[in-house]
Subunit: 151 residues, 8 copies
Amino acid sequence: MGLNVFLSGEIHTDWRNEIETGCGDAGLDVTFASAVTDHGASDDCGPAIMGAESDKFWHDHKSAKLNAMRIRKGIADADIVVVRFGDKYKQWNAAFDAGYAAALGKSLIVIHGPDHQHALKEVDAAALAVCEHPKQVVDMLRYISNGTLPA
Amino acid sequence: MGLNVFLSGEIHTDWRNEIETGCGDAGLDVTFASAVTDHGASDDCGPAIMGAESDKFWHDHKSAKLNAMRIRKGIADADIVVVRFGDKYKQWNAAFDAGYAAALGKSLIVIHGPDHQHALKEVDAAALAVCEHPKQVVDMLRYISNGTLPA
Amino acid sequence: MGLNVFLSGEIHTDWRNEIETGCGDAGLDVTFASAVTDHGASDDCGPAIMGAESDKFWHDHKSAKLNAMRIRKGIADADIVVVRFGDKYKQWNAAFDAGYAAALGKSLIVIHGPDHQHALKEVDAAALAVCEHPKQVVDMLRYISNGTLPA
Amino acid sequence: MGLNVFLSGEIHTDWRNEIETGCGDAGLDVTFASAVTDHGASDDCGPAIMGAESDKFWHDHKSAKLNAMRIRKGIADADIVVVRFGDKYKQWNAAFDAGYAAALGKSLIVIHGPDHQHALKEVDAAALAVCEHPKQVVDMLRYISNGTLPA
Amino acid sequence: MGLNVFLSGEIHTDWRNEIETGCGDAGLDVTFASAVTDHGASDDCGPAIMGAESDKFWHDHKSAKLNAMRIRKGIADADIVVVRFGDKYKQWNAAFDAGYAAALGKSLIVIHGPDHQHALKEVDAAALAVCEHPKQVVDMLRYISNGTLPA
Amino acid sequence: MGLNVFLSGEIHTDWRNEIETGCGDAGLDVTFASAVTDHGASDDCGPAIMGAESDKFWHDHKSAKLNAMRIRKGIADADIVVVRFGDKYKQWNAAFDAGYAAALGKSLIVIHGPDHQHALKEVDAAALAVCEHPKQVVDMLRYISNGTLPA
Amino acid sequence: MGLNVFLSGEIHTDWRNEIETGCGDAGLDVTFASAVTDHGASDDCGPAIMGAESDKFWHDHKSAKLNAMRIRKGIADADIVVVRFGDKYKQWNAAFDAGYAAALGKSLIVIHGPDHQHALKEVDAAALAVCEHPKQVVDMLRYISNGTLPA
Amino acid sequence: MGLNVFLSGEIHTDWRNEIETGCGDAGLDVTFASAVTDHGASDDCGPAIMGAESDKFWHDHKSAKLNAMRIRKGIADADIVVVRFGDKYKQWNAAFDAGYAAALGKSLIVIHGPDHQHALKEVDAAALAVCEHPKQVVDMLRYISNGTLPA
């Protein structure tokens, strides 16, 4: 069973690569997509292409909308949306993506540590799986793909 | 033009009442809904009705799902979803509601202060209006209802 | 918050009445619907109106399709679908209704005793609430309607 | 005409393989999917990957939700959903899948013996075909694919 | 259970009135709609309002599209669509309405005599009920509304 | 048959009032909605409520999005969308509304003079009626409502 | 631009082959589908596979539903649905397919001779093209595919 | 990330080719579609294939509907719809396409010069990006595809 997976959320650790590499090593037929994860490019892409803005709100607005084209395509094509919440920052875009995916009926996997358990209860309640480590997502994608459990 | 409006987000200030009262004083035909805003009841409703859980995760899970029945109904019926982000807490459920509403094509109004501008840029980019004060939402609902601008 | 609730499943105990009476006593704005619960009428309605069938399969087929018009309308209009599994019989129609409701994105409440827990795990996994007694459904509908928890 | 077919239900006989082999022998362009049919893995997959649960309800809940990701994908991609009811067990998940598929407008084929005819009348009423043997499904898929009837 | 019913098809007998009167006499909460059944007005409404056409094709085209506004509204609002095929004429618009209603997931009741059985098999196969007389539709609507079978 | 009608387009003549008065005089059950038609308020509503913008693009952007909440609600609720193109201005918002309504499957009536016939051919091709005068829309709404043609 | 085209209707002339050959000769990237056009197989497929019926209604019912699996798949996958009405027979299934396709928003092409013009006005009104000869459909598919008009 | 892009609007400059060539030079996996851009063929295609019309309205009507089959397919398949407004003509079809795409939830990019800013404010408000030059669209498609900003 081939799967399309969108990876959303925290961009300061190597978790996307860990999942993609793990699935590659397991020989799974999984195609990944995600937002542009270069923080600087993501922040400035709108004005860089469409022209500078003096007001920070519109600077961010232009960039967020340009990024939205990629994110919406990624979520629309996905069978499964994985959202990771890290230790820092507000990460409201991650929660926004989770809500967006849930409303479209996408299968949702949430990754977060125990510290965020209570604050993420509404997001977790909409998910089909909640875990702490990227390796667990690899294990899930392998099980979903071919029924194999970790040794 | 009658409107259904769902009010999501921060529960520690009086903003819901301010909007409802303002619209009532203006004689608008607006029906409001929101999640249960009693923090204690919202946290414990699941185990209180369906039985206690020893694990905090499942305690929260039961409650969050019971609350979800009310929230989904409220958003599904809404023409406009207003989401307010306050000064404190993670408020991931507010961002989740915003994403959920956006994916359903609801008109979205976001309220937040200037401190959160950059962190909320993706949420703001999906909104049809961004403002700082509940009174501005009253002004918008009056304008949408009957075309009248504030004096 | 007014609610439309469809009650599906077991027809040999008084549970529908218990929920409707409980909500009425609590003064809730809840409208209930359900399939025709007169077992004989439900089995024979098709041939009684459209003409007899010599083959039991088609006798049942005609009746099941006539009943389906009422059931589909009831589920389509519902905000919440409550499905109760009793102690006896196969009750595949109850599980079918649960799947039908889940696919339409309806909020699902499942009632069953502990004996059926393992056999109903897939149905429970699609539900927003699982409980054992009709009174708990009354408590949930009151909480969803007006935020009040049982004393 | 290429077809995607999801096979749901009874896992204790060889019927899935019988259908897949029959279609392969007939040279049909049919792609099959189904839930994980290893009973043990299916029951324990959630805790095995995401961590143990002391309460059987949550053990089953975690597993059922993980399995749901595969099942939803399989049904969503399917043109035709085949559901087989065997002689034993409650098989509520099979009826749930049938209801889920029906609500999505999928073409539904039901396989069951004469003993279950009355109990499955609502499921049969939603189906486009009802039969008793896997070979009949092969015959149907060949007819749908290329118009050939069995000799 | 209140019902919206759209009555489509043959316009040369009194069947619409028979159903509406029968449901009225039974005290049912059923709201009926149908296309304009004045044959002359239906044929000429387009040119009468929007200007004459020399070409019969466009004369009919203008009228058919104007009628379509009423028909689409009626079918869109309907819970149940009843289509009657009479003894004469091609009645392709009736079959078109049946297909249109089926694709929208509306519950479909077909009325026709035994002479048309083979020619209508595809339409009947999409219906939830097939009968011969308007009185049977009254009996069905009463049963669907309140569970009462004819005496 | 009660109808919801959204009136879009040209705001410099009295055509909306002509249609509403005509339907009122005919005693029709039609509810009308439209965008705010006060040109000044429509242009400035965003900054007036949410704060001034130095850049004309963002001034217009804020206002257009606030107006969009009313327009989307009006079109979403409509059975029929009437779009009038006048003699002057680009009126791209009118054509945008027509496309928006067409994609949602709304019944579309277009009003324009003969000068614009060729330029509006794509819009007319998506419409169920094309006419020149508001009185013709009154005649259509009367015919759709109760089957009466103009004397 | 690759196209999926479903060919529905009359089965007694060579029109399907004429269109497929014409498009093949023109080198177009068009994939065709249609119902099983072997009249005998189409009539008897249900009982042949699922068991005989003594009642003609149920004989036809079983076959029509089995055929429906192929037809629904064909229409669901189609960009364009072509429906041809011949000189003979009721052809209600063709009109049913046209209504079904129209409700799904498929582009509809209708082929019929001048004798049927008035009787097909509602079907024609839902079509994007009406013509008399299969060669005209080839010309349309070529134009839609690559913009080339017939010499 | 592969993308499907529909290019709508002005046909008198080389902008479509500029975007296609730019994306080709950048090695992007983007598939383009657009309406037939041969002005003469687009105007006359309907009568050329289906027969002449004496009335200009119906001449245009036939052609516009034939073109609509290609345009609807193109927009339905698109992830992103780019609409360019040139200096001349009414271009209502461009605004219609923009509205149609917006209602379907497609990501919308609008290209126009500063002279049209105010007149296009409603269209711009529905867009995720507004720019002036085709090269900027190439830059956006490259960024969306692979995250690279222009040097």
